[in-house]
Structures are given as structure tokens and as C-alpha cells.
């Protein structure tokens, strides 16, 4: 179990990552944590009572480059329960890189096999700061260019670090 601390401009979120059940996903996530990829990114996609997604864009919606993807570990038995962390991706099942999301509701339909035979790989859960997640869940959102569901006031991830 690796514990990370997500420091945001709305407060701190502590999460436990399940290296036993999602070894590749956690390893890939920590790769991005340790190179500082998440520093100064935003939760750019917030859909109320569904999920908050971040780790891919800087404030101002400038997309950050990624350099590795991870195999989809959606079949690991972990469920997309409220306050779990899972990897975002395109429709390609193994396209997840750095963007992740936190479920703000139990989203059973995201579990393996999901809508596409793969589902979304859960790799951790929030253990402290659920109230911060709730606060982010409730922010006002708007459109920014071709992106919908963007928080009107940027929700900034100042950094993510391993704390244990």
C-alpha cells in the first residue's frame, strides 16, 4: 500500500494506492508522480455526482505531454465505488497514461467488463479529504473551447507526492 498526498487549492486529499491489486497501474502512476508530472495540473473535467478528472492539463487548459501508457487492469476486482481513484483513457482500452479520476458516486457501470469489455481500472481510494473531493464535485463548470465540464475557477493540483 503506497500512500499519496494530493495538494490542491481546495485542500488536501490523501489516497492509498493498491499495489497488490493494480501493480502496473500504480507503478505507472508513481512514475508520473515522481517526475513531477502532476505539479501544477488541474481537475479539468468535473461532472457532478459522477467523477472529477485531472492530471492532464495545466491551468489555462494547456495539455501536458505524456510518454508512457499502461495496460488496462480493470479486471482486478476493485470497484468504481465512491471516492476510489481510477485511470482515465480514450476508447482504446490500454491508452491510460497520467490522467486519473476520482469517483464521486458509486459508478458500477464503469466496472469490468463495463460498456466496452474492459471497464476502468481502479487503483486506489481516498482515505482523507473526502470533504475536499465533495467540494470539487460541487464547483460550477463551463465550456472552454472544445472542452465541456471545465471548472469555471481552476481547481489546481499543486503537487502529488508519496508520503508513505
Amino acid at each position: 500500500m503506497t500512500t499519496i498526498l494530493i495538494t490542491t487549492n481546495q485542500g488536501n486529499i490523501k489516497a492509498e494506492l493498491d499495489d497488490a491489486k493494480a501493480p502496473k497501474t500504480v507503478e505507472n502512476f508513481l512514475y508520473y508522480v515522481n517526475k513531477g508530472h502532476f505539479d501544477n495540473t488541474i481537475f479539468h473535467r468535473v461532472i457532478k455526482d459522477f467523477m472529477i478528472q485531472g492530471g492532464g492539463f495545466e491551468p489555462g487548459m494547456k495539455q501536458k505531454d505524456t510518454d508512457q501508457t499502461v495496460e488496462n487492469e480493470g479486471k482486478n476486482g476493485l470497484k468504481n465505488d465512491k471516492y476510489t481513484l481510477a485511470m482515465a483513457r480514450t476508447s482504446a482500452p490500454h491508452s491510460a497514461s497520467a490522467q486519473f479520476f476520482i469517483n464521486t458516486k458509486g459508478n458500477d457501470f464503469l466496472n469490468y467488463p463495463g460498456q466496452d469489455g474492459w471497464g476502468y481500472a481502479v487503483f486506489g481510494k481516498v482515505v482523507e479529504g473526502q470533504d475536499v473531493v465533495d467540494q470539487i464535485n460541487n464547483v460550477k463548470t463551463t465550456r472552454a473551447g472544445m472542452h465541456a465540464d471545465v471548472p469555471a475557477d481552476a481547481v489546481i493540483i499543486e503537487k502529488i507526492e508519496v508520503v508513505q
Binding site: F50, T66, T69, A86, T90, S91, K105, G114
Partner: protein
């Protein structure tokens, strides 16, 4: 180094089901329906029930039956979870009225119903009104959808209405044996008439799930649900925020 938009996971804009023919004698089918309402439906912003959800409906006073009350309660709970629920009459449960709608917290739709999903126009019908080749049925339908006939029927005691309906169902079963497969499907001219409203049609009634394509026009047909008899059947249709339409089997996998 992907610049492709990672706009997944997405939530469905709407889910569509029909032809569950819910009845107390089919408990597995009812269970599947309750599971769908609690596991699948909450992912969508709206749920459209496109007819023959009940095997029969004798009138809104039949809500006193525990089976019916439980279904209304489950629909109401879904609405309270933030899903908008819409109901269209089928050929079996066309007597569902404002009393049920209020108890279940849903909105009744007239047909055809034209809706817009992610910019895509879709016309919704149950499907029985499009079986124009079945002249006997169309005459029967004209009679029982007439408000005056319905008022007169609903004025009878509930027990009497149920007896009449039981007789009608038996008659329908024997009549089915005689009808040709052709007239038990939607007629081409009726489909064309609907396509005048939208390129995309979603309907049920025929129990012949399929996607029919024809030069940019699409007609999606919903399956019926049956889990108490062989073969097991069921599924739904989903539309996502971009207007993409997918068909799903009972376990959720896409066809």
C-alpha cells in the same frame, strides 16, 4: 504522446428499454428489471420506458397490488436519484395514467415522441401503431385508445376489468398463432412516415431486436425481456453525450 481527448469515462444521456411484460408470475424477469434500475439506470441522465413494461394494466387503481406498487416505488426511487424517467404506452399497458405517473415520479409521453440527444434527433414510438398491416389489431387499437372507450372501461370495477383483460390476453395468444410473421412487424410505409421526423427511430413491440440501416437512416429495435423461460432475452439501448447509440445485452456488454 497522445493529444486525443480523454473524455472517458462518460455517462449515458439516456437509456431505453421496452417489452418487459412484468407480471408476478415471472419473478426472475422482475428481478432483472429491479437490478437494471439500481445498477444501470443511475448512470444515465434519463430513462425512457417505451411500452409494455407491464404485461397488462387494468387501471391506476391496480397500484394497490403489491407487485405493481413495488415497481412504482423503484421507479420513484430512480427519479429521486436524479434520473428523469419517461413512460410511453404499449399495446398491453396503455391504460397506465396520471395516477401511476405521479406514484412513480415519471412523465408520460405521447407518441410519436421526438427528442434530441447530443444534437441528434431521435423519434420514439412503442411500435404497435406501425404494424399497419395487421388490420384487426389496428381496429382494436383505435377502439381502446379512444378516451371515451377508456373512461367507460375504467368506470367498471377493477375485478371486472381484470377479468375482461384476462379474456383478451387469451384471445391474443390464439390469434397470434394464426397471424403471419409479416403483419406482426412494422410496415415499411409506417417506418418511412416516422423517418420524415428523424433519421433515427427507436422502438420496441416486435420483440425482434435489431439495427436496420438504410442510406443514413437507422431504426433501432429493442428486445423484449424474459428470464423465466427459455430463451433468456433482454437488453437496452444507450445514447451518450455525443449522440452515439449502442445496444447492450443484459450483462451490459455492447453488441
Amino acid at each position: 504522446m497522445s493529444t486525443e481527448s480523454m473524455n472517458t469515462p462518460t455517462r449515458a444521456l439516456a437509456l431505453f428499454i421496452s417489452d418487459l411484460h412484468l407480471q408476478a408470475s415471472h419473478p426472475r424477469t422482475a428481478d432483472a428489471f429491479f437490478r437494471f434500475l439500481s445498477e444501470q439506470a443511475p448512470q444515465a441522465e434519463a430513462l425512457y420506458l417505451l411500452g409494455d413494461i407491464f404485461e397488462y394494466w387494468a387501471g391506476d387503481d391496480d397500484l394497490e397490488t403489491p407487485f405493481n406498487a413495488a415497481i412504482a416505488a423503484a421507479l420513484r426511487e430512480l427519479g429521486e436519484r436524479g434520473v428523469a424517467v419517461y413512460w410511453m404506452a404499449g399495446n398491453r399497458d396503455f391504460l397506465v395514467g396520471p395516477g401511476f405517473a405521479q406514484a412513480a415520479g415519471l412523465t408520460l409521453l405521447a407518441e410519436p415522441h421526438l427528442a434530441s440527444f447530443g444534437g441528434r434527433q431521435v423519434v420514439l414510438v412503442h411500435g404497435d401503431a406501425q404494424c399497419t398491416g395487421d388490420l384487426k389489431y389496428m381496429a382494436f387499437r383505435a377502439q381502446v385508445r379512444d378516451p371515451a372507450w377508456q373512461a367507460q372501461f375504467l368506470a367498471m370495477p377493477l375485478a371486472q376489468r381484470k377479468a375482461i383483460i384476462a379474456g383478451l390476453r387469451e384471445g391474443s395468444r390464439s390469434a397470434h398463432a394464426d397471424k403471419s410473421m409479416d403483419i406482426m412487424d412494422v410496415a415499411a410505409e409506417a417506418v418511412t412516415a416516422l423517418h420524415a421526423q428523424a433519421d433515427t427511430i427507436i422502438h420496441g413491440h416486435t420483440h425482434r431486436p435489431a439495427l436496420h440501416r438504410q442510406e443514413g437512416l437507422r431504426r433501432f429495435v429493442l428486445p423484449d425481456w424474459e428470464l423465466d423461460e427459455e430463451p433468456v432475452r433482454g437488453g437496452w439501448i444507450a445514447i451518450d453525450a455525443d449522440g452515439n447509440i449502442t445496444r447492450h445485452t443484459l450483462d451490459g456488454s455492447a453488441l
